[in-house]
């Protein structure tokens, strides 16, 4: 018998409420997930794009400080690499609208920062989010089903809502750590390196937009990942479902968009033939855009919302739907045709996932 064995004793103190239960599930889940070496590597890696974007912020503010924004704009127009990684030139060329002589620092800064933040959240972070969530989420419920750990929860004062919320908070925190936190840190760094003392007041809404955009990014994706996890006791099947959704929808979007481009090229060719204009082939005309950002870093241009063409198939792919809604949140593309179908997709994802979770989470107990 252990020396400190005091036998069985009664306990009558005050119990914590359901919110504490959510937090307990979340903290324990994060601790267990963090034991994965791959997750630790991925989260640290997920911060690396922030350093590249920090270089863009720094180069821009340095140019403002040294009064050479006009020269920087000229460089951007001819497609020079301004920050060592090419992002600033891409964004700045668009922000200056082809006229580097009349540079309004405040409005240019706002546009450049907004586009850089949107590009940061869209292109590297949203993809890394898929990887991080794909690593953690499939185990969260499916492993509970396999190890019958659901009995640990539902034989105690834990409801379905607390369980799902607890599991969601695990993913939400991870997602926010790799999206919201570095984006807010980028804004903060911009404020710190800026020569203007009022820059924080001028751009106060950007961190708010970052937070809203991060939540829009996090909530549907987290719920979708948990729904997949709840559908099977096999973690690998849940992982496959998650990644297959992203990849298959991406491919479907690319195929439909390409079909649109091909159709539009044919229409242009037909129109040209009617007018009997001796022109370059349409595909070459499309590539002969004078804007350097169109040929350089096309992915960034699209992510930053510089490509003004309406993406009418964005709703079909979660990645592109998230991008369309985030662009609206950042005030870059507020055309209803751009964000409304995408919002419908995200709402469908969210409520569909909630319905699956409500059905599946206590299903083993009812079987």
């Amino acid at each position: 018998m252990p020396l400190h064995d005091v036998g069985y004793r009664a306990w009558n103190s005050r119990r914590c409420g359901p919110s504490a239960t959510v937090w307990v599930i979340a903290v324990t889940g994060i601790r267990l997930a963090w034991e994965s070496r791959w997750l630790r590597r991925l989260v640290f890696f997920a911060w690396s794009p922030a350093f590249l974007f920090a270089a863009s912020f720094f180069a821009f503010e340095q140019a403002v400080d040294e009064g050479r924004l006009t020269a920087l704009g000229e460089g951007a127009q001819v497609g020079r690499n301004l920050d060592g990684v090419g992002m600033l030139g891409t964004v700045l060329a668009d922000a200056l609208g082809g006229d580097p002589d009349e540079v309004d620092v405040e409005s240019t800064r706002r546009l450049v920062w907004t586009r850089l933040l949107l590009a940061f959240m869209r292109s590297p972070q949203a993809i890394l989010l898929a990887a991080v969530v794909g690593l953690v989420a499939p185990t969260l419920i499916s492993r509970d089903l396999r190890a019958k750990a659901w009995l640990v929860y539902f034989t105690r004062p834990v409801g379905r809502t607390e369980y799902v919320l607890g599991k969601s908070v695990i993913l939400l925190l991870l997602v926010l750590v790799i999206t919201m936190l570095p984006a807010v840190a980028l804004w903060l760094m911009g404020v710190l390196v800026s020569p203007s003392v009022t820059v924080a007041l001028e751009t106060w809404d950007l961190p708010v937009r970052v937070i809203v955009a991060s939540l829009v990014l996090a909530v549907p994706t987290v719920l979708l990942a948990l729904a997949y996890s709840s559908l099977t006791a096999e973690t690998r099947i849940a992982s496959f479902g998650w990644f297959a959704t992203w990849v298959a929808c991406w491919i479907a979007h690319a195929a439909l968009t390409t079909a649109d481009v091909v159709a539009s090229v044919r229409e242009q060719q037909a129109a040209a033939m009617e007018q009997d204009e001796p022109r370059l082939p349409a595909y070459r005309r499309a590539n002969a855009s004078p804007d350097p950002f169109r040929s350089q870093f096309r992915w960034l241009a699209r992510a930053a919302g510089i490509d003004a063409r309406l993406d009418r198939w964005a709703w079909i792919s979660p990645y592109h739907a998230l991008g369309a809604v985030q662009a609206a949140i950042f005030g870059i593309d507020r055309r209803p045709a751009a964000w409304m179908p995408a919002t419908a997709t995200l709402l469908l994802m969210t409520f569909g996932s909630l319905a699956i979770l409500a059905w599946r989470v206590t299903a083993p107990a009812k079987a």
């Binding site: 504490a20 640990v152 004062p157 107990a365």
Partner: protein, 333 residues
């Protein structure tokens, strides 16, 4: 001034539960009162569903369930705060050590962080879990896992503990220790213990009452003493020597006695004698050269009661619940 009414831990009235077309619980009515109650029944009798109904995990198709006065389906939180469960299936959160598992269970039950850790160590000490508690649960032996599971069920000091096959996989020493803990909880701490098991000797050893469930119906319910008492009151006498001669002598003295065979050897069945006849029995034994080894009220083994009950339940016109296969007055209190 009248004493406050303490709600009965579990009261089920005509509970019906169906999975599709299959009726798993068919008008189950029972009460579980403080003390130790055993729930026995063959596989597929509906024991696990009954436990789930008590915990509010399943919605009933009919009838009423009350646990400490609360509807478990509508107010599961209140019910589960008052109940601790040791499931039959090994269930744990992969990656947690034994003590972390118990602490996690305590936290989920609403204990504050520091208190949860203190209680976890305290109940693990009481369960004699030793240093094994620091190993991941999935690497523990069956016995230690059972201790951890039991500790997790009682860490929040529930008023009632439900155990599904609590002695499964335990060696004889551990089994005795587990039964001892259950007895201590019931007798010393006033807990209501509800044990679902196939091990009838365990039920006979610790339970005050037993419920036999078969084909979704309560077939038998009552105290162990009542259920194992034979239909006619009688005593059994065992001894060495010519038992048949002793039986003849007792019969000639006006006692109804006959020699019969039992699993442990021949014995004399005696219609319960009056106190003034006892000295005649001792004298007759001495005169006929029989050394009496035991002389006690007859009782039927619980296993025999169980088998007979199931045999009756198997018959096509088996009595419906409440038809009184054998239900002593006062239900199964």
């Amino acid at each position: 001034m009248t004493a406050p009414t303490v709600p009965i831990p579990v009261r089920l009235t005509n509970v019906v539960k169906r999975y599709g077309r299959r009726t798993v619980l068919d008008g189950v009515s029972l009460e579980v009162t403080p003390g130790i109650t055993g729930l026995v029944g063959p596989n597929g009798a509906g024991k696990s569903t009954l436990v789930r109904a008590i915990l509010g995990l399943v919605q009933l198709a009919g009838g009423e369930a009350r646990v400490f006065g609360h509807d478990p389906y509508r107010h599961p939180r209140r019910v589960r705060e008052a109940v601790g469960v040791v499931p039959e299936d090994e269930c744990s959160v992969p990656g947690l050590s034994g003590v972390e598992m118990v602490r996690y269970a305590a936290r989920l039950s609403g204990l504050p962080a520091t208190e949860a850790l203190r209680r976890a160590h305290e109940v693990l000490d009481w369960c004699d879990a030793g240093q094994e508690r620091y190993r991941p649960v999935e690497t523990l032996s069956v016995g230690t896992r059972q201790k951890v599971s039991f500790a997790a069920a009682i860490v929040h000091d529930p008023a009632m503990v439900i155990l599904d096959e609590p002695t499964n996989g335990l060696d004889p020493i551990e089994r005795r220790a587990m039964l001892g803990r259950l007895t201590t909880l019931a007798r010393k701490h006033g807990k209501t213990i509800f044990v679902s098991t196939h091990v009838l000797p365990d039920v006979q050893a610790i339970c005050d009452r037993v419920i036999v469930l078969a084909r979704g119906r309560v077939r038998l319910a009552g105290s162990i003493a009542d259920l194992t008492r034979p239909a006619r009151p009688e005593h059994h006498l065992t001894g060495t020597g010519p038992l048949d001669r002793l039986a003849e002598a007792l019969t000639s003295d006006g006692l109804q006695a006959r020699v019969t065979a039992s699993e442990t050897g021949p014995l004399i069945e005696l219609a319960s004698p009056r106190p003034d006849q006892l000295s005649a029995i001792w004298s007759a034994a001495q005169q006929n050269g029989v050394a009496i080894r035991s002389f006690a009220p007859a009782s039927r083994p619980l296993e025999q009661v169980f088998v007979e009950t199931l045999r009756q339940a198997e018959q096509p016109n088996a009595a419906a619940p409440g038809d009184g296969l054998r239900e002593p007055a006062g239900g199964i209190r």
